[in-house]
Symmetry: C2
């Protein structure tokens, strides 16, 4: 048995998220079944991030142990010939025995896409949240800086999650408009459940002048989810990259600023 890691892109539109479930099709299930039949053995995948239904990934990372007759660095090409078109392996390689796709992470990069126009999107309809109201981008960019740094993000965690330590570090959070799309890029050492979508929903409220910096600061101090904005829709969210404690997939070390 040897350990293999894979880099995965998927369109989450038609899946009930990453994690295997009893009564719904998930990305993990499709990948485990495809790799299992390809390698002729039962495969258990460990993914870096449990993305929700409708959420997309450009750089999901996972590992598994297998006896592979196919060279690990060629495995992704073989798998792509059997996978559905909305799931692609971008790379595969032999991993160190101590590599764990979830526990060796040092950070993640998410992008959230807002479609801000008087008309909804036809082509991007499954990859953006549509916000017809005008948005004050400068106000959003300014308020976003409140989330940067090391903070207790209890206020930005979905109600009901029971995580003890809610302190996380957000390295950067930027917003840029390109035509009708406002892209929010956020990188951090870890994210609580729904944290990025709560950032997006909150900044959309700021852009509509329904929330201001003082109210966000108060919500963070009070650790009260109810004081921040709504949880933005899942289809606007992309897991762009997972950063690790070591170089992976031949990406230059400077690609990973958090090692």
């Amino acid at each position: 048995m040897s350990r293999i890691r894979i880099l995965i892109e998927y369109d989450g539109t038609h899946y009930a998220g990453w994690q295997r479930q009893k009564n719904a099709l998930t990305v993990q299930e499709v990948l485990e079944d495809t790799l299992g039949s390809l390698l002729g053995q039962r495969i258990t995948l460990f993914g870096a991030s449990r993305t929700d239904a409708g959420v997309h990934a450009l750089g999901q990372t996972a590992h598994f142990d297998a006896q592979s007759s196919i060279p690990p660095e060629k495995l992704f090409l073989a798998a792509n010939t059997h996978l559905p078109p909305d799931i692609r392996l971008c790379a595969s390689e032999a991993a160190e025995p101590d590599f764990h796709a979830r526990f060796c992470t040092r950070g993640k990069h998410y992008t959230y896409q807002i479609y801000n126009s008087c008309h909804g999107p036809a082509i991007l309809r499954n990859q953006v949240m549509f916000v017809p109201a005008p948005l004050d981008l400068a106000a959003m960019q300014e308020a976003a800086q409140l989330f940067v740094g090391t903070h207790d993000f209890t206020c930005a965690m979905a109600a009901g999650s029971n995580v003890r330590d809610c302190v996380r570090t957000v390295y950067d959070l930027t917003l840029q408009r390109r035509d009708d799309v406002i892209a929010m890029d956020v990188r951090g050492n870890g994210f609580l459940y729904n944290m990025v979508r709560i950032f997006a929903g909150t900044l959309i409220c700021v852009g509509q002048h329904k929330l201001d910096k003082q109210e966000i600061a108060a919500a963070m101090a009070a650790r009260d989810r109810r004081l921040l904005g709504f949880t933005a829709q899942p289809q606007g969210l992309f897991l762009r990259r997972v950063y690790y404690d070591r170089p992976v997939f031949g990406l230059s070390p400077d690609f990973n600023p958090f090692c």
Copy 2:
């Protein structure tokens, strides 16, 4: 009766192109039926461009005559509440009685997207042509300049089309790589059937060093379709904008360099 023009975005994936057909669903049919039931009268649309099956539009333009109880500049909002999610009206307005969406055009802007990576695209799978082989972008950019200017483009017209005058002017043709996507943008005063897809297929051959500038020049001189590259797949093609002999949809005149 008054004349109304509309600006249309659509995802062509699930349609047999723009033009109404007997036995296949088209964008024109969906729009005529939706506007017809909305306005309570039979609507006949005249579109600027007959896009093929699978081809997308960000700025298709059409006109029709109707007695509209809805103010023309509000019509697009009403229509969007009845249209399927893969067709959106971006704008609507009263048009001059002599405006014709097809005959008043001065030029068009098309974008062709090539996905150039060792793995296929999951998220962009219906909006790009996947080319796994490495592409020499500099060679493609250089060869593209042969198509710029006023030429007889018989060699870049689908075999079987019977157009008399094949002389067209290409204003500019640029290629840019952004991550895995190479976008080819071309603007001209008119395009022959499949012309943009033949440009794309030919430049893909150049990028793979299967064709060179001399061979393209020879094909143009010989007016021989067989001497150029293949016709690139439809799903990579976007009709981005139609330019007119007058300002439309409040777009600044400088947006239309060809008036």
